[in-house]
């Protein structure tokens, strides 16, 4: 926010006169633009300083802003309704944007699918991994294997927990969230197989009151390490710390909120993804319509380990990270049952992080206390 400035007659006259001038000569001030420059638009579903999903994308946008010859447009709190179509068209028509990053899951269908054919010269890059064969060629989709980050969170949590109970505040029981919950527990169980993870679903991506209630309920039940998958982890972090529980972050770096209680966090690394895509666009190199990546590809990263992480934990964390970066790592591997007793993976069976079967996950593994419905 802009600071309050005292106004006097001079600043009043100055600002209004300047604006009058701008309006008189060629309409509203246009952003200065040289030939060959690229205008990139970023659209967020929530506030860009939410310490979570939207902030992670805004950090990526900030990295693009620092590139030469690029103009960055940003708009926050854009609902997944007609509004986002209007915003995209406004960026295209008023500001000449030719590369758009509408970052919320619900922006793709129907909104991007509707606009992309109308604006052939514009590239629509959507976060969420929904693009499939037959969708418009000037649209694309990207996503990261962040479940591996939650697995590493689990390793840190497994060492830190004394009660052997860890907690997870989750938004909705959809595959991406379930994969994170399962990965978090399996990471912890790689340290101690007796650890259990209590999960509470809030039912909404962003609902601060329920997130606080859920975190308190987890603490009441003795969970001493808590992580989450909601749009903005701020409330969960602060509540957990107030209750004396360790925190593993998600989406963005929450160490400023959790201080010494912060173990580590699974973060998106959109800065690397976005600068790469912008560089390619400026060079005229095509971007694949369907892009995925993990730790090794720079799509996700881990927050620096906090002071509460022991040397033993650090050693196992680093070793596991090296395994994941080496590739073909599987969190879901046999013998493994879900928490209702059904076999998920038989002895010797493994689902590596890139396996598409994981994208329709509908179970919680054994050791997770909670239900998907």
């Amino acid at each position: 926010m802009t600071h309050l400035k005292p106004i006097n007659r001079r600043t009043f006259l100055g600002t209004t006169a300047a604006a009058f001038g701008a309006t008189a000569f060629g309409g509203v001030a246009q952003p200065a633009m040289a030939a060959g420059d690229l205008t990139v638009g970023f659209i967020y579903v929530g506030p860009k300083d939410d310490f979570g999903y939207n902030q992670s994308h805004a950090e990526g946008a900030a990295a693009v802003k620092a590139m030469a010859g690029v103009t960055v447009l940003e708009e926050e709190n854009v609902p997944e309704s007609q509004d986002v179509q209007n915003t995209m068209e406004s960026m295209i028509n008023f500001d000449g944007a030719t590369l758009l990053f509408p970052t919320s899951f619900g922006y793709f269908n129907p909104h991007i699918l509707e606009l992309a054919p109308k604006h052939e010269g514009v590239r629509f890059e959507h976060c969420g991994g929904l693009w499939s064969e037959g969708n418009p060629g000037n649209a694309g989709s990207y996503f990261g294997y962040i479940g591996m980050g939650q697995y590493l969170n689990g390793v840190a949590a497994g060492h830190a927990t004394k009660s052997k109970k860890i907690g997870f505040v989750a938004a909705k029981p959809i595959p991406q969230v379930l994969n994170n919950i399962n990965s978090f527990l399996l990471g912890a169980r790689s340290v101690d197989p007796t650890i259990t993870c209590q999960v509470i679903f809030t039912g909404e991506w962003s609902l601060a009151v329920k997130e606080a209630e859920a975190t308190n309920a987890l603490a009441d039940q003795g969970c001493d390490v808590i992580t989450c998958h909601v749009d903005g982890p701020k409330v969960v972090c602060e509540t957990a710390v107030a209750r004396g529980a360790y925190v593993c972050g998600y989406h963005a770096d929450q160490s400023p909120l959790a201080g010494d209680m912060y173990l580590t966090g699974a973060e998106w690394n959109w800065a690397s993804v976005y600068t790469d895509m912008v560089t390619k666009t400026m060079a005229g190199t095509p971007i694949n319509n369907f892009v995925r990546g993990g730790l090794a590809d720079g799509f996700i990263k881990m927050s620096p380990l906090g002071p509460a992480v022991s040397d033993a934990a650090r050693a196992q964390f680093e070793a596991t990270r090296a395994d994941i970066v080496a590739g073909n790592f599987a969190a879901i591997k046999g013998p493994l049952k879900d928490n209702k007793g059904n076999v998920i993976a038989a002895e010797g069976e493994a689902f590596v992080e890139t396996d598409v079967a994981l994208e329709s996950m509908d179970y919680l593994v054994e050791g997770v206390l909670g239900s998907t419905s």
Binding site: T15, A22, V28, G106
Partner: protein, 369 residues
Amino acid sequence: MSSLEHSPVQTRPTGARFLAGLMPRAEAVAIPVGALLAGFAAFSVFLLFVGKSPVEFFALVWKAGFSSAFSWQNTLSRVAPLVLAALCVALPARLGLVVIGGEGAIVLGGLAAAVTGTAAAGLPAGAGMMAMVLAGMALGGLCIGAVGALRIKRGVNETISSLLMAYIAIALLNHFVEGPFRDPASLNKPSTAPLAEALRVGDMPFIAAHWGVLAGVAACLISWILIERTTLGFAARIAGDNVRAAQVQGLPVSRLVIGFSALGGAFAGLAGYFEVAAVHGSANASLIAGYGYTGILVAFLARHNPLAILPVAILLGGFEASSGLIQRRMDLPDATILVFEGMVFVIILLSEMLYGRLRAFTPGFWETR
């Protein structure tokens, strides 16, 4: 003849009488417009305090909302749900009810329409569409009709109950979309099954805005005729002005309250139908977009007059259409437009007390001249 020509008393009072007849009507336009301008002025002061130029702000609102074909398309695409949501406030308001839960009727109307659309896949497209419209309007009407009934039968405050109804409606939407009516293919964004292409509603010719805009215009006209030109509307206005008097006259106050509330809810349900059939193609959490709340503002600015709702909705649609450009060009947060709308809203409410107090608008002021 000559005596008439020489009589100054004959000509001057004609003009005065004309003014005396005109001014009370002009009051209904002059006060809201004056309040709107005062709101602009107050917001300009606010902008100066944060070091931004009001002129640039209003120029951007003009550019993004009204200056070109694209701006108009951007504005009009927001008008349909706003108009219908505003009627959900304005109709019960004529009976003295302050209903603020139109959002719930939109959400439930959208859900009902989407579910009916899936079930009606075998029917001819026309019949399927009609069934969707009716289902959406019925559920929306039920939602707000129930609020009216609670008020009249049980004395429950309708403002609170309609707001709570919106929470219930949203919870129901989430439950049904994530449970019984979930399309198994919608993995990470639970939704109902996508509508068949034949059941979708397209854009109107020449205007890149869907048919919901026309439906909104029609709904405003119907509401206006109902209120101003029918005995039913006359009875409703009496009940709204003085419930006791209406009861003494033997008017069916409870049926009027429930009926007008239900009709308002039905229009909001229709907005939900258009959101599903023209915009989203299925029902999911994206239906919760806040149109029901902006509709309250529209209805109050229009002083619950259905014919005024349309221009006000266009004005607010334009304000909202400019939100993005203002964020991007002036580096102001997205809440700026909300602050702006809020200031205008408060000043419009304050201006209510001016009615009948400004002497220039009273017939006597001109007749005594």
